[in-house]
C-alpha cells in the first residue's frame, strides 16, 4: 500500500511536469508557429532593410503567411538579399507582387508586407520579388522634416 502511494505521488508529479512543459510549448512559445512545415522560398532585394530580423513575419493584408528565413548582403547588387519562407498553401501570389518593409507601431518590430499585383503567373520556389520598397528610416524622415521646416 505504501509503495502504491509513492507511485501515485510520483505519477502526479511527472504529469504536472509534462503539463507544465506542454503549457510552455503551446501557451508561451506557440511552438506550431515556428514549424512551418512546407514552405517555398522567394527572394527579395531591398535597398535598406532597416531593423528587419530573421523570423520576422511575412504578411498579406496583415495576415501572416510566412517568415523571413535569411538575410544577407549581396555584394554584386549592393543590396540586401532577404529570403522569404512562405507556407506552401499560399501559392496564389502573382509574379508582380510588391514587398514592403513595414513597422508594427511607431517603435515596434519590422515585418514584410506583401501587396499582390495582377499578373496571371504566380511566384514559385526560388523566384524573385520584382518590386520592393525599403524600410522607412526614422532618421531620414526627421532629417527631411527639419530641412522642410528650415525653408519656410
Amino acid at each position: 500500500m505504501k509503495v502504491r502511494f509513492f507511485e501515485l505521488a510520483v505519477g502526479v508529479f511527472v504529469l504536472l511536469g509534462v503539463a507544465a512543459l506542454f503549457y510552455l510549448a503551446i501557451q508561451v512559445s506557440n511552438v506550431t508557429d515556428y514549424h512551418d512545415r512546407d514552405t517555398y522560398t522567394v527572394t527579395a532585394y531591398f535597398d535598406n532593410i532597416g531593423g528587419l530580423k530573421t523570423r520576422a513575419p511575412v504578411t498579406v493584408s496583415g495576415v501572416r503567411i510566412g517568415r523571413v528565413a535569411e538575410i544577407r548582403y549581396d555584394p554584386e547588387q549592393f543590396r540586401a538579399e532577404v529570403k522569404l519562407a512562405i507556407r506552401s498553401e499560399h501559392d496564389y501570389l502573382p509574379m508582380d507582387t510588391q514587398a514592403a518593409i513595414h513597422t508594427a507601431g511607431l517603435l515596434g518590430e519590422q515585418y514584410i508586407a506583401l501587396e499582390p499585383g495582377g499578373d496571371y503567373d504566380t511566384l514559385q520556389d526560388g523566384d524573385e520579388v520584382m518590386f520592393t520598397q525599403s524600410a522607412l528610416v526614422l532618421e531620414n524622415l526627421i532629417g527631411r522634416f527639419m530641412t522642410n521646416m528650415g525653408s519656410d
Binding site: 510520483v10 508529479f13 511536469g17 507544465a20 510552455l24 501557451q27 518590430e109
Partner: protein
C-alpha cells in the same frame, strides 16, 4: 614564507584529491545505473522524496517570482508606453534564466541538503559498510537511484516553476495592473521561441540537476563520519552547488545566447 607556499600547495592538492574522488565516484555511480531499470521502485521512492516533496516550495516561489516580475516589468515598461510587452518580458526571463537557476538553488537547499544529511548519517552509522558486508553494493542500492531521481526531477520542477511564474505574472499584470489579456499572451508567443528559449532552459535545468545531485550525493558519501562532519558536508552541498549553478549558468548562457 616557505610554510605559506607549502600550505597553499597542500590545499590545492587536497582540492584536486576531492575533485578526483568526486569523478571516480560519479563513474562508479554511472556504471551501476542498470539498477534503475531493474528495480525502478527504488528510484520512484527517491523521486518522491526529492521531487514531489519539493513541489510546494517550487510552486510558491514560482508564483511569487512571476508576480514580482509582473510588477517590476510593468513599472519599467509603462515608462516607455510598452506595458503590452509585459508578457514577453515575464516569459523570457522565466524560461531562460529564472526558471532553471532559482529552481536549482531551491533544489540544492531543499533536496540536496537532505540527500547529503541522509547519506552522511548512513555513513556515520556504518550502514554503508554493513551493506557491503552483506554483499549489497551501496552504489547500486543507495547512490544510483538517488542520483537518477535528482537528475529527473530538476527539469520537471523547473518547467513547473516557469509555468506557474507565467501565471503569476498574468495575475499581477492582467488581473491587477490592467494589461490586456490577449496582448500578454500574444507578445509572449511572438518573442519566445520553442527551440531557442524553452529548450535551452530545459537543457540548463538538466545540467543543473546533474551537477546539484552529483555534489549532494558525493558530499554525503565523502562526509567525515561525525556529527560535525555531517553538518559541514550539508553546508558544503548548499554552498558548492549554489556557486556551481551560478557559474555554470553564466557559461551556458554565453554558449546558448551569446553567439546569436
Amino acid at each position: 614564507m616557505i610554510d605559506a607556499i607549502a600550505s597553499l600547495g597542500r590545499s590545492s592538492l587536497n582540492a584536486l584529491v576531492v575533485f578526483g574522488r568526486a569523478f571516480i565516484f560519479l563513474i562508479q555511480v554511472l556504471a551501476s545505473l542498470d539498477i534503475v531499470i531493474r528495480r525502478f521502485g527504488l528510484t520512484v521512492v527517491q523521486i518522491y522524496s526529492v521531487g514531489v516533496r519539493s513541489l510546494l516550495i517550487i510552486i510558491v516561489s514560482g508564483l511569487f517570482v512571476g508576480m514580482v516580475l509582473g510588477y517590476q516589468g510593468y513599472i519599467t515598461l509603462v515608462n516607455f508606453g510598452a506595458a503590452e510587452a509585459l508578457g514577453g518580458v515575464v516569459a523570457l526571463s522565466l524560461v531562460r534564466e529564472l526558471g532553471p537557476v532559482v529552481t536549482a538553488l531551491l533544489f540544492a537547499g531543499r533536496a540536496g541538503s537532505a540527500l547529503t544529511a541522509e547519506l552522511g548519517l548512513m555513513k556515520t552509522t556504518e550502514q554503508l559498510s554493513a551493506m557491503e558486508m552483506m554483499a549489497v553494493n551501496p552504489y547500486r542500492r543507495i547512490f544510483a537511484p538517488r542520483f537518477v531521481a535528482g537528475f529527473l526531477s530538476m527539469p520537471l520542477l523547473a518547467a513547473i516553476f516557469s509555468a506557474v511564474g507565467v501565471m503569476g505574472g498574468y495575475i499581477v499584470g492582467v488581473g491587477m495592473l490592467g494589461v490586456d489579456s490577449g496582448a500578454y499572451f500574444s507578445q509572449m508567443q511572438s518573442v519566445t521561441d520553442w527551440n531557442e528559449d524553452v529548450l535551452s532552459g530545459v537543457i540548463k535545468s538538466i545540467v543543473f540537476g546533474f551537477v546539484v545531485t552529483w555534489i549532494a550525493v558525493f558530499q554525503g558519501f565523502n562526509a567525515m563520519p561525525t556529527s560535525e562532519g555531517i553538518s559541514r558536508a550539508t553546508t558544503q552541498t548548499v554552498v558548492v552547488s549554489s556557486l556551481a549553478v551560478l557559474g555554470l549558468d553564466f557559461i551556458l548562457t554565453g554558449l546558448m545566447f551569446g553567439a546569436g
